[in-house]
Symmetry: D2
Subunit: 429 residues, 4 copies
């Protein structure tokens, strides 16, 4: 309640604000009966008003959305009581209207103006930043998320292959947004667009050539056990004709305003579908993924932990001997320590994926219905890779016929994994 009061105070203050009040007035007019006939012009006014609002006034604006543009509690209660007494269509209609916050209609009408969708995404980026200190703004964000999820329905998205025929403007965005394995420039990018490498992105009709999310795929013989060979430059463009395996080695979001709108799952499956059609000889669809949470978890795990104590200590000792990490440290790690490391990572991924410290990448793929297939030693020797996971990477396997079942298992707190991973779960003495 304290938070709510803070918002009410903020809203109160907003009333007298010379930059904010006109914007709120435009918002009120836009959703009014009268505004109906002129949505286009009024929505543009709101867009301009928000664009001109000083950053310091944004919190007060969203506070007003949270309080003034919220559903009326009494109206809601009365409608809910009626519905509880007689759950008829008419009572449901009254109830639904009572519960829907007026700011939903505001968001919908802003969306009608040209540039409206882009504006809503920008507003949400601001809101996500402000929300941290104000849990009451979650209600506003919930409305944004609800509508954006509806509008960025995968059925509305356009899947396009990105290649060397794509515009420089688009490719520049790909370079910029790549979040997993940095693209260092145009020639680096070019290698990732040759015939045996693929890149696919989702686009939304309302956002033109702005990519929403993209995935990079390597078409190779066997499930890859290290990332460097996938992205190293090659003198000659290889063909994809002989490839039997598609390795999804990078997936990056481009729109922070779409946080929480799940697109990656659908992207992976649609790309797998399309590759299968184009190249029927492909047998295996898997990832080569980082384990961004592994070292963080290791650092927080107690040194004594039953049968795992020995392994934990050996790895800790090795890490103390190598305070700064270099590729050659990793590659020269003694075999038994390697084995400990792999076992601990298997334990982390299988036992912790439903816990607070669980790995976000593991969660994403397991929830999509993939299986934890293999853990690879010395697979990512970049600085980031060594720091996050001591160079380990994971193959998650997408067996299209099984994803539904495996997703269900994950929901039921199980983590599907291969025999090889199961063996790792038994630590060395």
């Amino acid at each position: 309640m304290a938070m709510l009061e803070k918002l009410l105070r903020l809203t109160q203050k907003a009333r007298g604000d010379r930059t904010l009040e006109p914007l709120l007035e435009s918002c009120r007019l836009l959703i009014s009966e009268r505004g109906q006939a002129n949505v286009y012009a009024l929505a543009l006014k709101v867009i301009e008003g928000y664009s001109a609002l000083p950053a310091a006034r944004r919190e007060a604006f969203f506070a007003a959305l949270a309080t003034e543009f919220a559903p009326e509690p009494e109206t809601v209660l009365s409608a809910a009581t009626q519905y509880a007494q007689a759950p008829t269509a008419q009572h449901l209609a009254v109830l639904t209207q009572a519960v829907e916050s007026p700011r939903q209609e505001l968001i919908r009408r802003i969306n009608r103006a040209p540039g409206g969708t882009a504006m809503l995404l920008a507003m949400r980026v601001d809101l996500l930043g402000l929300r941290k200190g104000n849990p009451e703004l979650n209600a506003v964000d919930a409305d944004y998320l609800h509508l954006l999820t509806s509008w960025f329905n995968p059925g509305f998205l356009r899947l396009e292959r990105v290649d060397w025929q794509s515009s420089a403007a688009l490719l520049e965005k790909i370079i910029h947004h790549e979040a997993v394995h940095e693209i260092s420039g145009w020639s680096d990018l070019r290698r990732r667009l040759q015939p045996d490498r693929r890149c696919y992105a989702f686009f939304h009709p309302q956002l033109g050539d702005e990519p929403l999310i993209f995935v990079e795929v390597a078409l190779v013989d066997e499930m890859a056990d290290a990332v460097a060979p996938l992205i190293e430059s090659k003198p000659e463009a290889a063909s994809a004709k002989g490839a039997k395996t598609a390795v999804f080695y990078s997936i990056s979001n481009c729109q922070p305003g779409l946080r929480g709108v799940s697109l990656g799952n659908f992207l992976i499956k649609k790309v797998a579908d399309q590759l299968k059609t184009e190249l029927p000889q492909l047998k295996t669809f898997c990832t080569l993924s980082p384990i961004p949470g592994f070292v963080r978890w290791l650092d927080k795990t107690p040194a004594e932990d039953g049968e795992w104590t020995a392994a934990l200590q050996r790895v800790a000792a090795w890490r103390q001997r190598h305070p700064t990490l270099a590729p050659e440290n990793i590659t020269r790690m003694p075999k038994p320590v390697q084995q400990d490391l792999l076992s601990l990572s298997a334990r982390y991924l299988v036992k912790q994926s439903h816990e607070a410290l669980g790995d976000p990448v593991a969660r994403f793929h397991l929830d999509n219905g993939a299986r934890l297939e293999r853990i690879n030693f010395a697979a990512d020797l970049s600085k980031k890779g060594m720091k996050q996971s001591l160079g380990l990477m994971v193959n998650y396997l997408y067996d299209i016929g099984e994803v539904e079942l495996r997703h269900q298992e994950f929901v039921n707190q199980k983590v599907s994994h291969s025999t090889a991973v199961r063996r790792l779960l038994k630590p060395q003495a």
Copy 2:
């Protein structure tokens, strides 16, 4: 409540139905937690299941949506009570989730499959037919309408000019869907696409080349007072260069499944905008519209009605003398009867537009913020025109700077009209 019980019985019966039960089971799976990982395939299964459902089973299917896929009354009441006690973001989130019917999620997930949007429109056409006897199905329809309104947000639509460069497949649909002034064939259509006539349609990214709604416009010197000159064939294509007036003479919906999703208002304004940009010399934007409800109202109006009695009787007498209508009857109507007719139509449009018998076309344009500008005698001598309105047609004027105000007036039960119309409101003795 009787209706609700009927639905529950229908639902009960559905449980054992060999064609329906598998479809409902697919629907349950599609919105289940497990279904999440396989939305694409499961949505296709629901689409196939519904397509294969015998027409006679559809009512039972929608009954199941109305009962089984509805919000839980107790859950709703408890959430509403909590929110009434403390209107926090968290309570609102719980409440919102409780109130949203599970069938909304079902509709959203169907929409993710290829062809999903088209399927939802087809389902809704069925539902609109069944709803008449079952007001309880309104709750289901409300969910369809809510989501379709969101997805067919004008901001997502593509406006395109339809002309002789358009595909034959599209033009054929225009011929088919024209609902106001029938297009009798390709050469008739061609005239309406020459440089001084325009046709614009809205398209949705998800429905490909399927038009949603289109409008036909004549670019002429002055506000047109009859429809024939606008659509009659001409040997030579005139240019639009000298035109000062854009007359919107026909607007037709193509998707019955979108009933209630308001697109016409936005279409007219967007086309006016585009024409204004292309042809800055255009000064007047108006319609030439039918009065489909006029004769229907005349037939139901009592013969004695104060100062209007004389006019009503003169018109009734003339109509008795001309039981079958022909163009020459109308054109030879005695001047005083003409005057009576015009006065009565003015009265009908100005006084009845907020009543049950009010004219739907008048309501549409007035609610859009147009003004009732002029009523034209002998303006539509087609059979339909004579039958519905004894040949009268109306010009509604769109003064872009005034639409907001006029819409507000209309909401406040007033009908904006010109001085000329005001004069007609005083009947002859």
Copy 3:
């Protein structure tokens, strides 16, 4: 030489002509050294000048091209003598320049302006008309033909499928230009564009959406023996999936200005190629073609002609009994007369194709390397079909692996034909 003198007189007269002389002056400037820097503007001037030239002055214009813009005989002779003495590269260069008529450069420069190509085609249509009375204009036409052949090189043409997705503007031109089996309107056309019927056209980059030539194809089970089933309307669109035979049943030129530029040969082969790729199950590529010259030849053939006398007389007698032709006359023709007719047509096609009265359609396909495969009785019962060939039609077979050889045979005065046709060549007693 008389003709040449006529042209010179015409040219002389042109000098003083107030409408023609400025045009000729523009032509001279356009090909002058000075004109080089301003080709674009000067070519437009020539185009405007010719467009404005009264029809009656065109002959004088082309006469001037024939005389004034021709190579200089003395220069040519001197260059040829030099080359005969020493056939070096330098002498050849001098010779080539001497022989090329200045009007070739004129045509080339006209072609550089926007609309230049279309203008040259229009000029040539005029020239083809005037040429009949003036064989000396053949030299001018040869230059047009030479350059147009170079510019309408099949390698520069774009093959496109014409279907119901094509623009109405294009389809209207298809209806207009169909020269073999008239298209009576849009629904007639539609049938010819359904999945089991195809239409392909060539386009030139310089002429936009203007088709040059198009071919219509029926995808059917077996080699068709009558045209009606190919073009009759059908309630349902059949699929092309089961088809084993592609029947080219109509080929029409759209540009009279391209007469003599051979495109049909290349079109048939490119379409066959494309169909083969799309539908690998197609085994047979053939035509169903008219015999436009048959009756004309029959009428000029002497009544007494050795072993053919009896057949000629029987057919003549039948024709006398049926002075006006109706479909039922043909279908009820006595079997022996049918046989005579088929034999005579086989004789006409096999023996006369290299003669003056030879059939132009036969010549076209045989020269393309097709084989005379089958002659069909009562195959075209349209008025035109009965008048030209008493309802007979021919299948020419394109066996892609054999076309080169068969073309060579045709060049060597032989007509490839099947065993069935060979049998017809022996008349009944």
Copy 4:
């Protein structure tokens, strides 16, 4: 004649060559009567044959084209004699056919195959290399040039703006082919594609996305006097709205196989036209061009040369003092030496442009009808710029209304120049 004999010997040898003879046989077949029916397949065979030919055999191949595929001297002489006696259309037709070398038909037929045009360009690159030692191959090259000129007629070319929306594949080619002011990478390129810089290229329908020639333009306030400000990177993209002057600062050919086909003239005029339409406020169209021949000429000019002796000596002395050039040397050059340098360059450009040592860039623009407007000191301080012209650059002015006249003057051995340049023509004592 010696050369011709060498070619005949080469041809003789070719007859027995196992790699060459089959290719020549394919060529013969392709232009034979029989080949007519199968041009497509036979042309592909010639293309494959030439592609597989070892580089060392190419000279023998072109020798065969020069001798075996040349016009017959006797036939030519006889036809020329006939034409000289009676210059009729028929005699001209015979003559034209006799003079046209069979290799022209060969080239035309190769061009019909897919990839034919690209192949002909590649062949010509080889031929241009071989021609240097074999003037007799000029006859073969003349045929290539004749036909390529016809096919790359500017009327057939597509002008396209190249910008950041263009494909990376195209932009990479622009970087590669830029021949005047090197583009050092993608960010360098990007600056040249911002709104106040333009790049336009010509494309040919037959060569897809392969640019033929492109020009770079800076939109600025005043006629630029140095190149660095035009291509230096800028933090912000400037707008072109205020610009009054379009400076063409670079023009580069991309197809060495098109040498001699004049495209640059037309490109400059078409781009000027397009810019004028888009930005009507543009008043001046000029270049900022290098003087690649200046230092070369200076080095060959005798030290004593009348009134120019003093200037020549002062410049020579300065050059001796600065054997290696650096930007600061140029910028610190004493004023009087600067003046000498400018005067000498004016003299070079005005007096030498029709001589052997004349500047090729000057010739190109003057022949296009431009005027020598201004010479700029220290305008290009790149290594290349200092080496070729001691940093000088030239503005040529395109006054569209005057180009025809000025081109004519240039043809008549005059060089149009401004008053400022005229003043420079008088050297200092």
